[in-house]
Symmetry: C2
Subunit: 131 residues, 2 copies
DNA sequence: CTCGTAGTTCGACCGCCGACGTACCATCTG
DNA sequence: CAGATGGTACGTCGGCGGTCGAACTACGAG
């Protein structure tokens, strides 16, 4: 489902591969919290935050299969946490910091800080790969 | 499961009905986020926060059956978000503000603020009962 | 054109989760 | 004691969610 209907009238990318993002007004707090409550997805978000810039799916190493990986990135995108754009053969992911900050001020940062703290407490078991 | 083993040496309450809470060090961020990502539970937390003091289960009106209600309160307790104590025939619930603040500074407040904001945006559909 | 890399899609599996009703227990009030 | 009130325990049901493998598509490099 969600077959991303797009008329040929708008072709932002040469190849024309685009995926649907919720716009700012559609982002729901419960969905964001749910997205962040999964260890894998939280790890993705932390990695993206640590880099500061966008990263390809394959650059965020997750101990799961490719299809599961795709699944998690989609959940993050559909909940409004990240945005995804195709760049050549790979897909770049970026945190939607501005949107999240506008909707839920301080939320993302406190979650990230909380994750870091907990990581420290538990001795880094939570598993964020440090560059 | 989790049959709350407690020796008779400590009897804090006359009747002796107690329930197990995770202590501060055991509270996990993912569990908290998961607990808060459910609309019903978020509603409970917001109601407790709005009151400032503890409230009985029956005082937090939820559009679900009694047993479902019990379930949600248990999830909140086991994730470390609330504490529960028996008081006479009813069970009092309180936010574990101090513990959450110590572990994840600012997190609870930003979630609560985010919920309020979203409530405003969506015209109060989210359904927090205002006293 | 061919190949390799990067993601996607599909179907399946299985566990968990939210919801319910019923039966039950604990406490207070008469 | 009896009854009422407030929660719990248990079993169940339906659906969602995380995981996988296999087949497939899209793009870039030779």
């Amino acid at each position: 489902m969600i077959p991303q209907q797009l008329p040929a009238t708008a072709a932002p990318v040469p190849g024309g591969r685009v995926c649907a993002h919720p716009d700012r007004a559609e982002i729901r707090l419960e969905a964001v919290l749910h997205a962040l409550s999964d260890p894998m997805r939280l790890r993705v978000v932390r990695t993206l935050a640590a880099r500061g810039v966008e990263a390809a799916c394959s650059e965020v190493e997750l101990p799961v299969s490719k299809s599961t990986c795709t699944h998690h990135f989609r959940v993050l995108r559909e909940s409004g946490v990240i945005s995804q754009t195709y760049r050549g053969t790979s897909k770049m992911n970026a945190l939607r910091r501005a949107d999240l900050e506008a909707l839920f001020p301080g939320l993302l940062d406190s979650v990230l800080a909380a994750a870091d703290r907990q990581d420290g407490r538990l001795g880094g078991v939570t598993g964020l790969v440090r560059a």
